[in-house]
């Protein structure tokens, strides 16, 4: 006998039991008990047949058999107590509201979700992913990016130094931004190129609600002939609209990053304003959120990579992943992203 046949047989026994017990006047309960549930009763014999059924199929069948037995016993007890037969029909069936079987899900970190989403944005715009190390040399992290030695711009990025030396015997550091990948990409391939990179960066800063000594950035670089600030503006605008919908607006304000000129800071219009003008806690009522740095690639950067700035031009733009994650997930304290509290992480679907 296989499992299907066994189930059919069980179902037949249940049907015949139902018919017998449902008759008016009802049959003698003791006789019914003997016929179905006795040692040599129909159900007992069927349960004995289980031994021929393969092990892993046996278990659920056993459970079915037992539940049939329980049900029959209950109905016989009812009959013996002379309870009205009508109640049988009203007996509860399956409680369909019991919880389903657990297939617990895990979760991706909110920063992973955010990074994936931002990376997708770059990919859609034709940027190819590029890589670089976290332990960097001074040349790639600073000098080639137009941070001359002893320049105060270096104070913008407090640096961790590590106990290792580069080929020239100079001390290595933990990269303070993802921009060294711009240099590495231009060293690997001459223009035209359109690349982006995302990953972890480090600054020697005390941790508070909006600062962390380790955090993440994403940035893109495009170098070609005749690339202008207008191309940059279009790209940034397209990127932001991809993320926040076609209604979002962007604007540029002058700013300074040593590796771009002209430099800009990008504001996006606040999409979180709900409580009316001037009251939004996200943009503090300004209507704008600072989200990115951007600019035209500085000629000194191109020169450092043996690209003639009279021939090639480019733009670069980048953002902090944490900033976006905090906006998207409504987090006001950056430390929450590094606490790894499963009660928090499991909320991220």
């Amino acid at each position: 006998m296989n499992a299907t046949e066994w189930k059919e047989k069980l179902s037949a026994i249940r049907d015949s039991f139902s018919v017998s017990i449902g008759q008016k006047p009802a049959e003698n309960p003791e006789a019914l008990e003997l016929r179905f549930l006795g040692r040599k009763g129909e159900l007992a014999l069927l349960l004995r047949d289980l031994k021929d059924i393969p092990l892993e199929e046996r278990k659920p069948l056993g459970a079915l058999g037992n539940s049939a037995k329980t049900e029959m016993e209950a109905r016989l007890a009812e009959l013996k107590g002379a309870a009205p037969a009508a109640s049988a029909a009203a007996a509860p069936g399956l409680d369909l509201t019991l919880p389903g079987a657990p297939f617990p899900r895990g979760s991706l970190h909110p920063l992973t979700h955010t990074m994936n989403r931002l990376a997708d944005g770059f990919l859609k715009l034709g940027f190819t992913m590029s890589d670089g190390p976290l332990v960097e040399d001074d040349y790639h992290n600073f000098e080639a990016l137009n941070f001359p030695p002893f320049h105060p711009a270096r104070d913008m990025q407090d640096t961790f130094y590590v106990d290792a030396k580069d080929q020239n015997g100079k001390g290595m550091l933990l990269r303070t931004h993802t921009s060294p990948v711009q240099i590495r990409a231009l060293e690997k391939a001459q223009p035209p190129l359109r690349v982006f990179h995302t990953g972890r960066v480090f600054r020697s800063e005390a941790v508070d609600a909006s600062h962390s000594f380790a955090f993440h950035q994403i940035e893109g670089l495009y170098v070609d002939k005749g690339v202008s600030m207008a191309d940059l503006k279009w790209t940034v605008d397209a990127f932001m609209k991809d993320l926040f919908g076609s209604g979002v607006k962007t604007r540029f304000n002058p700013s300074y990053f040593p590796f771009v000129e002209p430099g800009a800071e990008v504001d996006m219009s606040c999409v979180f304003c709900k409580s009316g003008a001037g009251r939004c806690p996200v943009c503090k009522g300004t209507g704008w959120l600072e989200v990115m740095g951007a600019g035209v690639v500085h000629p000194n950067v191109l020169k450092a990579c043996n690209c003639d700035p009279e021939k090639w031009s480019g733009f670069a733009f980048g953002a902090g992943i944490e900033r976006f994650a905090m906006l998207l997930y409504g987090i006001s304290d950056m430390r929450m992203l590094y606490e790894n509290d499963l009660r928090v992480l499991k909320q991220v679907v």
């Binding site: 657990p102 190390p133 320049h151 105060p152 290792a164 790894n340």
Partner: protein, 795 residues
């Protein structure tokens, strides 16, 4: 940088309101991070004295207070609890202008109030206790104007200064920038224009490349000159504590006004009336104004008298030659120093001053003497008896302003704009009013704009001048194909699979402490060390993700969690010079009952080795050449005999196993049922490089005939591992699969033995196998098992 609105407005004709000014500064790249109202803006409030306090007839919480305003006694209703007879308080009469507007006559609970006793908030004062009325000092005369007790109404701004904004580091400079970009007229500073022919203190510049200019003015008869109150108030308002001595405060004032640091030497204290600008000699010492003994080195530039250093150039003056209340003759120094030299000296000595801050960013080459004259003028105004003995502008290297050929087409090309030539010309004219309209435009960079060097810099100024909104959002960039890196592909794949299997991703810092490394059985000496860690907790770069994951597990168990399935994809570091020191790992751990929380239909079981092995099987499904091996050498944190190495092709794909009891104990876990895996992602990245279509396995045809299966239970010695048995099944004809369905030890099984039940499934592509055929194959299998492993059929 702190900027006082009223001070800034001094230099602007018709200055806009503070909020407007702040917003406009932001649009030209000078971000106002804070705009705060300061001082008193109320009027009609005098000092009052409380003479008598009665209960309000109709309200328990109100009082009726008699206030004497210097002339008469008024009766007012007051709700504050901190009132007392004899107190001096700010008293507003009807008609007074307060923070919320004009005070009206009012009847409160049936009693007329002839005025109001004010709190700090009602007066619009910030930084005072606002829990009750504001109690004033007891020695004040009733009737005097209360507004006089507080600084005048003003606005304090905090302006973020980027490293390229050296030309905005003072009130005057910021006003100049604002006026230039918004077309307003400036009001100039009053500069002393007198002359003096003398040469009391000669200046010798031995390092003209490091000090191209040194302005010096000598004043006599300045003894006891005091700082005027208006100047002290301004300094106080920007957080610079005035000393009362104008020789000190005036120098600071001029720096915050014009951006040029100056310094006053007491001539009587100089070792001989001479100033020498030179490099420090090895071993020379200098006691600074803040009483530090500095050992100088020849990389530093000093201002010396005839015998010894009197100041560390651009950083800080010396104590021995500093001005005091007794000083009568001074030399005002106002110079230009080589920025990197000042920065190096500041870094080497650890002294960061307002002066070094400005010098290392680069000061205006044309400013030194003007600033010295300004300071001299301020001192002369306050000390009418003083006289000017010397005014010298020592300028060994004349400043040559750079001239940039500006082509409007180039500006438009950089910006992607179509700005008319005339507009670009107008912008350049704002910088240089005498610019001739002859092509190419010979744009002479203003002396204060040391940052403008190229066409790109000019393009930025044009965009700032017209407004960045002039740049259109337009592009005809060609399409380009885009790809992700192989590492990204495999990382994403592992992340998604692990999350689907119930693991939660965590992000830990890359730093570890020596204690954490030792707890994992690792030597800190072998790890890459951070030379300037934030604390010893973050001294090493993690050589494994384990320490962070254990910390995360501990954190969550402490918060009432029983089960934790965790993973992280991140970088681990090795100590290696000039080579690859990083490897990206995917690592994770399993602890506690799974599935988490169990089910009402059945319980859950503690995560174990096989649970994690099952997860690994899923991660590596479809990765060709994947297998487990007994590790020749496993990382120290695994328990020996409970760890397998994963192999992919010829390389290692990491390890999985149970953590060593010592590791669990060191990390303070009560039991040691923590199961951990780590996979170096480079092993998968190679596979990630293969084109996707090459990675896809071709689908094999399946049999059209029914399959047969048989279970076989055998008893054999425990030393025979399942993998050995499994291998022995290869070659059995028509065998589709051999699946282990039960392992049993105990009753009826001899000690040292175990029973294994295996389900064999047979399937032929040609026909339906009959009972005899299946039976023959099963006999062959049993024979093999008996022969190779001494297995016997379980009855």
């Amino acid at each position: 940088m702190k900027i006082l609105y009223s001070w800034l407005a001094d230099y602007i004709e018709n200055p806009p309101a503070p909020e407007v000014l702040a917003a406009k500064l932001g649009r030209v790249g000078l971000k106002v991070e804070e705009l705060r109202k300061t001082g008193a803006s109320f009027s009609g409030v005098c000092v009052g004295r409380i003479d008598k306090i009665d209960k309000h007839p109709n309200a328990d919480k109100l009082s009726l207070v008699d206030v004497h305003d210097g002339k008469a006694v008024m009766r007012v209703v007051c709700g504050a609890k901190n009132i007392a007879v004899g107190q001096k308080i700010p008293f507003a009469k009807v008609g007074a202008v307060l923070a919320e507007g004009e005070l009206q006559k009012a009847k409160i609970r049936g009693v007329e109030s002839e005025g109001m006793i004010c709190s700090a908030g009602e007066l619009g004062l910030e930084g005072y206790d606002n829990s009750g009325i504001l109690v004033l000092p007891a020695d004040l005369e009733p009737g005097m104007d209360a507004a006089a007790l507080f600084p005048k109404s003003d606005y304090a701004m905090e302006v973020e200064m980027l490293p390229n904004q050296a030309h905005c580091l003072s009130h005057y400079a910021l006003a100049r920038e604002f006026c230039l970009f918004y077309g307003l007229k400036m009001r100039d500073v009053r500069i002393f224009t007198g002359e003096a022919a003398g040469q009391v203190v000669p200046v010798e510049i031995k390092v003209p490349d490091l000090c191209p200019r040194y302005g010096a003015i000598v004043l006599k008869g300045v003894k006891g000159v005091r700082t005027p109150e208006w100047m002290a108030a301004r300094l106080r308002a920007i957080g610079c504590n005035p000393k009362g001595n104008l020789l000190i405060d005036g120098s600071n004032y001029v720096m915050y006004e014009l951006g040029q640091p100056t310094h006053c030497f007491d001539i009587a204290k100089l070792g001989g009336p001479k100033i020498i600008v030179r490099k420090a000699l090895a071993g020379e010492m200098l006691k600074t104004l803040d009483n530090q003994d500095l050992k100088l080195d020849p990389g530093m530039m000093v201002i010396a008298d005839a015998s010894k250093p009197a100041a560390l150039a651009g950083v800080m003056g010396g104590l021995d030659t500093a001005v005091s209340e007794e000083t009568d003759a001074i030399l005002i120094e106002s110079a230009r120093f080589h920025p990197p030299t000042v920065r190096l000296a500041s870094k080497a000595t650890g002294i960061k001053s307002e002066s070094s801050y400005r010098f290392e960013r680069g000061t205006d080459p044309e400013l030194p003497l003007r600033a010295a004259r300004r300071l001299a003028g301020l001192i002369l105004e306050a000390a009418p008896g003083a006289s000017v003995q010397q005014i010298t502008d020592n300028c060994p290297v004349a400043y040559q302003p750079p001239v940039i050929d500006v082509d409007p087409a180039r500006v438009n090309a950089i910006l992607g704009t179509g700005i008319a030539d005339g507009e670009i010309y107008a912008c350049l004219r704002a910088f240089q009013p005498d610019l001739k309209d002859a092509r190419p435009w010979k744009f002479t960079v203003p002396s204060y704009r040391q940052d403008i060097e190229s066409a790109w810099d000019v393009a930025e100024e044009v965009a700032r001048y017209i407004g960045y909104d002039v740049i259109p959002s337009a592009s005809n960039m060609p399409m380009r194909p885009s790809t992700v890196s192989p590492l990204w592909t495999v990382t994403t794949e592992l992340r998604n699979t692990l999350a689907a299997l119930g693991f939660s991703e965590v992000y830990n810092y890359d730093f570890s402490s020596a204690k954490e490394l030792k707890a994992c059985g690792l030597e800190p000496e072998a790890a890459l060390e951070v030379k300037n860690p934030l604390s010893s907790d973050y001294q090493y770069l993690r050589p494994t993700l384990l320490s962070g994951l254990l910390k995360t597990l501990r954190y969550n168990l402490n918060r009432g969690r029983e089960t934790a399935l965790l993973f992280e994809a991140g970088t681990a570091y090795a100590r290696r010079d000039a080579g690859k020191s990083e490897e990206i790992y995917c690592a994770g751990l399993a602890y506690g009952p799974v599935p988490e929380g169990g089910s009402w239909q059945g319980g859950s079981a503690a995560a174990d080795f096989y649970c994690l092995k099952g997860v690994m099987n899923r991660l590596f499904t479809g990765k060709g050449g994947f297998r487990y091996e007994k590790p020749k050498k496993a990382p120290a944190y695994f328990q020996p005999g409970h760890c397998l190495e994963m192999r992919l092709g010829g390389g290692s794909a990491g390890f999985l196993g149970k953590l060593a009891p010592a590791v669990c104990a060191a990390a303070d876990f009560k039991d040691n049922n923590i199961f951990y895996f780590e996979i170096p992602l480079s092993c998968l990245a190679a596979a990630g490089k293969t084109e996707f279509w090459q990675k896809i396995a071709k689908i094999k045809p399946v049999s059209a005939f029914p399959q047969n299966w048989r279970d076989l239970s055998v008893i054999l010695e425990e030393k025979h591992e399942w993998a050995e048995l499994e291998r022995s099944f290869s070659g059995v004809q028509d065998l589709h699969s051999a699946r282990l369905v039960d392992v049993y030890k105990g009753k009826n099984i001899p000690a040292g033995n175990r029973s294994l039940t295996v389900r064999f499934t047979f399937s032929s592509m040609e026909k339906t196998l009959n009972d005899a055929e299946v039976g023959a194959r099963m006999t062959a299998i049993l024979d093999k098992l008996t022969k190779n492993f001494g297995a016997r059929l379980r009855a």
